[in-house]
């Protein structure tokens, strides 16, 4: 589904990713772990097409098509979803209005009739209960005045509503208490199926207690320095990153 080859990315004149390779197939859950400044957020932003991230070498393809040159909205319509580390507040634009506009643009891209407003609202209500958000949140401005945990749950609500092919979760676990972490993990698990894929970007192993990854990668200094199964995460938790980054250097 996603193939990243020898990716070099520059942000504000600084090279952050230095030859990253990653292949994700449908049905898989990948976790990327790594110390601060290793390039984790750069990877998620460059996959989503954030302006300001320049690919200087290498390529990204999604479902066999090169997406390096595509706009963020084109990638989203193809099925790439980024759950933000810091979800943005948009005052006055209701969550519902925002989600419907997003959903309609995705349907349009697939040459489908948009989902009826009635069905959409019904689905939104059910799913907001699943992520433990009161229905009142649907009418409120996007993330406006939401707590940190509510913002993260709202990201998962969007994920469930839009049903993308690839979900990139950028430190979705940061700033969550134990209950919220559980709710968020349940949301991700209910999204997961054999046709889609999940890329979890995280500092800590605790999210991986709730969502078992098929692959764990360690990102250090812009490259993946080690890959393994979920046992690698446990090992990292015990030993830290230094032993890997030192080997890399």
């Amino acid at each position: 589904m996603l193939k990243v080859e020898n990716l070099h990315v520059e942000v504000a004149g600084k090279i952050i990713l230095k030859g990253l390779d990653l292949t994700i197939s449908a049905g898989e859950v990948h976790a990327i772990m790594g110390p601060n400044g290793s390039g984790k957020s750069t990877l998620s932003n460059v996959l989503a097409g954030k302006p300001g991230y320049t690919i200087i070498k290498g390529s990204i393809s999604f479902d066999g098509a090169a997406i390096d040159e595509l706009s963020p909205e084109q990638r989203a319509r193809m099925g790439i979803f980024l759950a933000f580390q810091y979800p943005v507040e948009i005052p006055g634009v209701s969550n519902m209005e925002f989600l419907k506009a997003a959903s309609d643009s995705i349907y349009k891209h697939r040459a489908l009739e948009p989902e009826s407003s009635m069905d959409f609202i019904k689905r939104a209500r059910q799913l907001s209960a699943l992520v433990d958000l009161d229905q009142g949140f649907l009418k409120r401005g996007v993330n406006e005045g939401f707590s940190g945990g509510e913002k993260k749950r709202n990201e998962i609500l969007q994920l469930l509503m839009l049903q993308p092919r690839l979900a990139i979760l950028d430190e979705t676990d940061s700033g969550l208490d134990i209950d919220a972490l559980k709710t968020v993990s349940e949301g991700i698990n209910s999204y997961k199926n054999s046709d889609n894929a999940v890329l979890l970007i995280t500092h800590y192993q605790r999210l991986l207690n709730h969502i078992q990854p098929d692959f764990v990668h360690v990102l250090a200094d812009g490259k993946i320095v080690r890959s393994g199964d979920h046992n690698l995460a446990t090992e990292l938790e015990a030993k830290g990153y230094a032993w890997l980054t030192d080997t890399a250097a």
Binding site: S71, E73, V88, S105
Partner: protein, 420 residues
Amino acid sequence: MLDRYQFIKQCEAQYQELSSRLPWMDSIRSESRSRLHAVGLPAKNHEYWKYSAPEQYLFSENMPTNSRGKHWRCEDALNIDMQGQLSGDSVCGALPDGLTVERFSDIDRDSSSRGILEQHFNSNLKNLSAQNRYSMGDLNTSMLNDGVLIHVGKGVTVAPLLNMQLDSSGYQRLLVVLEAGSSLTLLEQLPIDEVTGSGLSHLVESSLAPGANLQHSRIQPASTASDYALTSAHLGASAYYNLNLYTLGATNRRHDINFKLVGDDSKVDLNAALYADNSQTSETLVNMEHLGKRTVSQQIIRGIATSRARISINGRIHIHPHAQQTDASLSNKNLLLDNTARINTKPELEIYADQVKCAHGATVGQISEEEIFYLRSRGIDSETARFMIAQGFIRSCLIDAEFKDYLERLFMEAFISWEQ
């Protein structure tokens, strides 16, 4: 356009003609005229006119000096009528007891209203607008020919809303007198798409006796005219004034607002939502004078400008030496929708008492790239994203408005029609 000299000549001629009308106003007119002579018409080099083109408000044609076209009704509830105006769906027949609404010219010499008028023109309101910065107010007063008196008797609560439809041109005047413990909800509306004259000079003066409560909203749709408004109020002890301004751009639009919180524990809430596009100018200058003890004022002003429009906001809070325990705040947030629009904002604090709370904040921003990227990352194209965010900001300015649905429609129509 007339030059200043011609304008003054014309004003003098108009002034002379007025002397036969409502002779009891002669002294009031002449006092204002003298002050105007001393202070002079507003000029670009005056501090409070530096963002304006004052000559735009010195109108080029003979301004009508009567306001007989103005009409009013009491409404039990409001909705949007076929013409898109905010209109009552259940009208009170006669005015409720204790509420008087009369044209100055209809007031008899011996009536009680005449006493109220004279008392207010000669005492409470006498010095309210008589400041050098309000020479436009003196111009209005020197042309005073008619006006409307709104009076609410002692302890009377007027339950229905008083809906005033304003003329779109001329020198206009409203005098609102609320006796002790009374309350009134007043809505002023300027007509939509009806530009009949060259300009509007609108002066509203209010006097709130102790414990009086005035809820006052003004809706100004988009206009191709120039209009000037001065809203002044004098508040007695524990009086409360809530002023809500919903203003779309005009070719030139300026609003001076002057509150005097004289009585202890008096309070003002001012909310304003300002939108301007297509080279329009919109200026709002507030002067909040805290004189009594424990007085409270809160100003929330939101501005949105696009397409070479210019919005200027000046919020002055003046806390006098004896006004201890004043609590004053001013929040002004503005959004520029493109790089041709301009917003000037200038908060001004003058504090002479030492036991006060005073907060101010002013921001001018553009739609952030972060916000746009967030929407795009969900599949929404950048143009739509920008549009949605701008709409959202407008909506968030109106969130607490009483006629929210109507106002949202009015603002959105202006915004959407311009964007298209």
